[in-house]
Amino acid sequence: MDFTLDSGNTAWMIVATALVLLMTPALAFFYGGMVRTKSVLNMMMMSFISIGVVAIVWVVYGYGLTFGPGTFIGDPSGFYGLNKIADTSSLAAGVGVPFLVMAAFQATFAIITVALISGSVADRMKFAAWTVFTLVWITLVYFPVAHAVWSGVGILGWQNDITPTSPIDFAGGTVVHINAGAAGLALALVLGLRKGFGREPFKPHNLPYVMLGAALLWFGWFGFNAGSEFGADPTAGRAFMNTLVAPAAAMLAWLVVERIRDGHATSLGAASGIVAGLVGITPAAASVDSWGAIAIGVLSGVASAYAVGLKYKFGYDDSLDVVGVHLVSGMVGTLAIGLFANLTEGTTWAGAGDPLAPKDGLFYGGGFDQLATQAIAAGMVVVFSFVMTYLIAMAIKYTIGLRVSEDVEVAGIDLAEHGETAYEEAK
């Protein structure tokens, strides 16, 4: 393939990359506002350290493991350090975006995925253990899953041997959200309950931070979803519009559920609804029309509004609802493609005539094929991520230990693990 720079597509992808990177600190605020005053710094540091660890790993060997040739995992040789790599190797060489821009874009997805998991371990995980976890998890779970779905040669990608048609995961329903959600569940199970779980409400110490986080997540998510088109074109426009509409619908849906069920439409509900809608539309952003986007928004909002209560029923301490929001709405969005996909509206699918090409959704005349495909892909990622994460968590637990002492948890993890408190009184 030849490379001709397209400055417009490149401009968009540079900006999209910066936007997606902003999502991780945004998550730090979304999560940090939800915990109590005594753990806000630890919560935020889990996101920040994810950027540190994963960015380095990515240029050293992560890109290669993800996008190198190979069925189950990429061959990183030739990609160590990402130096002197021709722009013709760019994932978006065909639309004139340089290699390093695309490599940086993909890095930001790896970063946020591991950061998302931290929501399930609030208040109680050793910072050193988390740091090790980020390194191991990104290597053993994220890179293989991303390779399977997005490398073009993986087992859940285009024209694979497993699913009836090619699965659609435009921006990370399986790779990012289902993956992080299943991992969050496994890690929460291994870590155990916080002291007071189910008895104390553990209310957010600062709801404006939660709203700031949600707002910046939404802002960044336009890079995430519309950037996943790899260029500035009509499909990016569709992805953008859907990323505006679905979270709006999900926010409204969540607030309606709360108003009916609890009597109040809360700001935490609005923020959570937005994120649920963003998660839901992620895999589907370029393959549904506006009605599909609204439907996915409503389904995600309602499903997650109820799902966040499950932890009390089943007794796992998914502290900040990684499961309830990311796993559940990730599932909703991934499966909903099987219902609402409208392939003439969104992306122009190269090779659309191919028998393995994706099909329209059930409600758009495509039958059950795509739904089956989506379910298989989602299911495989859930199982792989859950099992692998469980094993990694166990390994860390029985080596360096996962959890701080109860004393530290009660007195506050910030002071013990970071030697700081988030706020100092005026004097």
């Binding site: 189910g198 069920r261 609890d262 509900g269």
Partner: protein, 112 residues
């Protein structure tokens, strides 16, 4: 001298201040507190789960008065803070041995 301490609903502060000024109080110290009494046991729904919230925010007023004024000030507070609902608060009176005004170093009733 006496120290009258009142724990009241935060939104009654303005009314109470007006009431005690009306009975001659010249100064007051205000701080934040939380508490429960009979009000204990109110439940709240949060994210679809129910919780018992028992510490309700209150405002503490402390007022130094001469012995003779303690009862009047107490009554003034009680009637101005009263809404008749549970959680209205408590007032108590404690004996004071001595009071000093920092600015002047005066002691006793002069310092009030």
């Amino acid at each position: 001298m006496k120290l009258v301490t009142a724990i009241i609903q935060p939104h009654r502060v303005d009314e109470v201040r007006a009431a005690i000024e009306a009975v001659g109080v010249k100064g007051v110290t205000v701080s934040e507190a939380a508490g429960y009494g009979r009000q204990k046991g109110h439940t709240e729904v949060y994210r679809g789960a129910e919780y018992t919230v028992d510490l309700v925010p209150k405002t503490r007023l402390e007022i130094l008065v001469e012995d003779a004024d303690a009862a009047a000030v107490t009554d003034a507070i009680v009637s101005a803070a009263q809404t008749g609902k549970i959680g209205d608060g408590k007032v108590w009176v404690v004996p004071v041995d001595d009071v000093a005004r920092v600015r002047t170093g005066e002691h006793g009733a002069d310092a009030l």
